[in-house]
Subunit: 166 residues, 8 copies
Amino acid sequence: MSAGKVLVLMGSGSDWPVMKKCTEVLERLAISHDVHVASAHRTPQRVVELVEGASAAGSRVIVAGAGMAAHLAGVVAAHTTLPVLGVPLASGALQGVDALLSVSQMPPGIPVACLGIGSAGASNAGLLAAAILALDDEQLAQRLRQERRLQAQKVEQSDAELQQRR
Amino acid sequence: MSAGKVLVLMGSGSDWPVMKKCTEVLERLAISHDVHVASAHRTPQRVVELVEGASAAGSRVIVAGAGMAAHLAGVVAAHTTLPVLGVPLASGALQGVDALLSVSQMPPGIPVACLGIGSAGASNAGLLAAAILALDDEQLAQRLRQERRLQAQKVEQSDAELQQRR
Amino acid sequence: MSAGKVLVLMGSGSDWPVMKKCTEVLERLAISHDVHVASAHRTPQRVVELVEGASAAGSRVIVAGAGMAAHLAGVVAAHTTLPVLGVPLASGALQGVDALLSVSQMPPGIPVACLGIGSAGASNAGLLAAAILALDDEQLAQRLRQERRLQAQKVEQSDAELQQRR
Amino acid sequence: MSAGKVLVLMGSGSDWPVMKKCTEVLERLAISHDVHVASAHRTPQRVVELVEGASAAGSRVIVAGAGMAAHLAGVVAAHTTLPVLGVPLASGALQGVDALLSVSQMPPGIPVACLGIGSAGASNAGLLAAAILALDDEQLAQRLRQERRLQAQKVEQSDAELQQRR
Amino acid sequence: MSAGKVLVLMGSGSDWPVMKKCTEVLERLAISHDVHVASAHRTPQRVVELVEGASAAGSRVIVAGAGMAAHLAGVVAAHTTLPVLGVPLASGALQGVDALLSVSQMPPGIPVACLGIGSAGASNAGLLAAAILALDDEQLAQRLRQERRLQAQKVEQSDAELQQRR
Amino acid sequence: MSAGKVLVLMGSGSDWPVMKKCTEVLERLAISHDVHVASAHRTPQRVVELVEGASAAGSRVIVAGAGMAAHLAGVVAAHTTLPVLGVPLASGALQGVDALLSVSQMPPGIPVACLGIGSAGASNAGLLAAAILALDDEQLAQRLRQERRLQAQKVEQSDAELQQRR
Amino acid sequence: MSAGKVLVLMGSGSDWPVMKKCTEVLERLAISHDVHVASAHRTPQRVVELVEGASAAGSRVIVAGAGMAAHLAGVVAAHTTLPVLGVPLASGALQGVDALLSVSQMPPGIPVACLGIGSAGASNAGLLAAAILALDDEQLAQRLRQERRLQAQKVEQSDAELQQRR
Amino acid sequence: MSAGKVLVLMGSGSDWPVMKKCTEVLERLAISHDVHVASAHRTPQRVVELVEGASAAGSRVIVAGAGMAAHLAGVVAAHTTLPVLGVPLASGALQGVDALLSVSQMPPGIPVACLGIGSAGASNAGLLAAAILALDDEQLAQRLRQERRLQAQKVEQSDAELQQRR
């Protein structure tokens, strides 16, 4: 069995439009990855299987996105010592505040890296996974630095456009 | 194997002074119960064992108290169809707001009955467990109604004392 | 006089589109129930009549949904020792935070089981009522476990669809 | 039966140290009043009796202080068309935010005048009751304006002391 | 000079669609009133003129609606000992939480009666003003009790419709 | 009549221990200033007098610290076009969140510069006043830059101490 | 090299529709200014260049608008002793609460003047910049006072329209 | 020049008692590390020097703890593509909510891994750094798994003690 370097999980199929921002980053940086819908509450054993399977097959980072009570990242972290990145999603009435607290406020002993709420957090999860993988992949590190330069260029281009528009 | 009617779980030994308010209620109402420290994050398999074991042995209600990200009640609910009562505890910097949202904002499909934060919630979890068990235990139902009368008397006594003190 | 096993109350007719999620669950699980609009503030005596009448007629669980100050569940709980499940609804400017705190933060002595805000909470109230009733109804317990399996299958199906779409 | 002009209620005897700030204002302004401990949840019928009795006996304003879910003022308002002033108290983990929302966010139709959290709100409830009663009591109106002048003098005195201390 | 019994102020012309809920209640209850746009920040002297003028002309209650920092009710209260009712409005990014705190959390000495956020609070301000005026106007008191009965009937009608629809 | 360059106001004598952090900065930077207790609610005319008097006498910046509803800075800003710096103070149950929103969320047209809650905000108000005054006072500008260097040295010293302690 | 009196920065091109409210005020008051997109995170060196360049060229006030974590104003303030005005913007799930706290809660030593969230804050930043510049520009001071009179007239006009419409 | 695998930064010397929880974990797991006090606002260039120096010398993970506006982690992340772990600290009136939002809500493009508030987050930052470093250090991975077993044992021991105490 083989596996991608990053395992991307989400608690519901409806999370995919946001979590796709994560996989788009991984694709752009040429990082192999798997994506699964698995729920900490509705399919808890499937979550454990995926986490343990990915770890055994050599995956190195796990990203978990969920909304509301958002226990997924914490449950994943309970079953692995791989780095777990949690993305709080803005479903339900509270716009992601619930998920943000549920992902970030982990008790001492089981770390989860919490990213921002929603699509910003999802894409940053991809970049943080890349930063971790780049520690022993110099080519990826270069692509990541190139990504940063592109970001800077976009900001500079926005500035140039603003100068012209005014 | 035999088991109490109520299984009371808490995520950390430091939760005991608050969760004891729950077992004190159960004791006062003569409801058999077991109490265990088990962490959704640090001992996830132990949680599953306790939940499945209690269910198999005939326990009927599970109370789970935890602070901060407070995933315990949700993880318990994922492994049983028994009624699960969650008590958010006020540990850490956010005074239980994090735990309140993490316990109450469960996704559709896996219900958790969220009580109030801290000791008020812990004792109410005991009373709610009693209310559930009293549905087919008329003697317990009588004790529960008696408990209510005692509460009312305490309020009336407070009022009487206030009249005298002024 | 006869009554359904579950009494579902809501504070306003405008709450029905959300609270219907609760009765849909009860119908799917073949649990008899009654539904009424009754306001803790505008028709307080009607609330007491409904609660006491339902209790006398053999109802076993009461679900109360309300928004804003959301006193309904607490007022219901003050007049019965049956299990009371409160659903905070997201009406008004605060999107249900007010209702969530008002339902969950009950003082010690009068328990209310708080579910999540809005439709997720409404459907979970139905499932929690079922979990309580299933304690002495093995056929219902089986339907409830079947419901869980269906949920798991939906998650697995979402995962399968995600694998194909990518 | 006779009654004071203001009925001051509180949900628990432990609320007295804060609610006393209200009665101190009433005493200073020579406004007759009654004070009772009565709980919307533990003694709901007693609350109704007190409210209806006070109204029948000629009381004109009702002040209700409560913490946590703080349903007392709303329950009082449901049983009278007298002006009801609610004081949210800071008990429990959330420091009165729960009570503030529960008192202020009443649904349309049943008004409650919400004051600030804790002792500032309690003393202001006394002053607001006085402002209402002063509408047809010119002597009270004069005492109230005198109270304002005293407040202004205290601020001016604080300023004078500050000038000296520096 | 003559004046209505209630002076309704709002900080901006854009507040009128919400504050109209207040005057609609006053009109339904046949309470004379004046309505003005006046800003605590942009026309502070105009606010003082209106408040002092209304008081001199015999107005008895002042309602002040404002959004964001919402200082209007507090500024009004600083210039009168008449009862001041504050309505926090939901303008700007924070949906009225800012206005709610700014209206309710008055320092001890200068009371403001805070209603709920937005249109519910606006109509309740009208009802609370009526409750205050009804203390020495038995005909108004009767109209107010009739208003309550109509509210109750609407709830009962909603319930009847719900029974038919199901 | 002469006046200091900065007028420092606070709503209550009890605010002085925190607001002193502001005047300590002004003293260290040799900026003349006056300090007064004056309440937007209890002495509104005194506030206007102080603001208009200071402006007439040549004061250039006004700092206003207040807690809870914290209307002082907004009321000051309504009566001057001088720069107004508001310091939200952490009195009462909400620890300054109320004051922070009340100071920062000013409506368009009347600006207030909001600093942080409590003593950090008070000392920063002193520094911001200095930054404004330094625009046409090169000697002050130099003292301000020197202040920054001292701050940097303190951080470096903390770092040096940390290296030794470990 | 020459520079405008005010440097307006924003963290992203998408902030322009809101930050334009600031430059519109500056234009109306005939205050020269420059506007640039520069990100504290994506182009940190560009931010420093712009801040130091503006300071060297004689700019006197810097306005910085940003959303979410909103570090821009703080980073600007770290590199200048000019007055820095921060505008928290309402991007992302939290509607600007995150940005408001990140801009206002600066540590002691490095002041940032926080304005309100979004367009109200942006236009007020323009007015506050004007208030600062007017301290040694009497013509601008007059334009600023005239701006205030126009604001008051608009409020009075709203009031007049309201009187007619009713 | 040589450097530890982890660079631990904090914004103030007063953060050390909490951030020590991070270095204690690193020491227990035998991970080389450096610790420095450096402020994003008071010594911004020192922060850049430390970050670039550490990166050049082979450090692999950077932990940054700060309170209030808490810009440190974001500023660090702006100058490196190494994984940056941010620890929000509970200084000031808001108990770390401000820092939590400022650390977690980073804009897309510059990721920061946010841990929980205060000491729980500090120790988890140490564990997350270890998890990252363990990806290519099997001995560390074993120590990390052993750490987990010890945690589980402590929970089990707490449970055993609870059984005896009752």
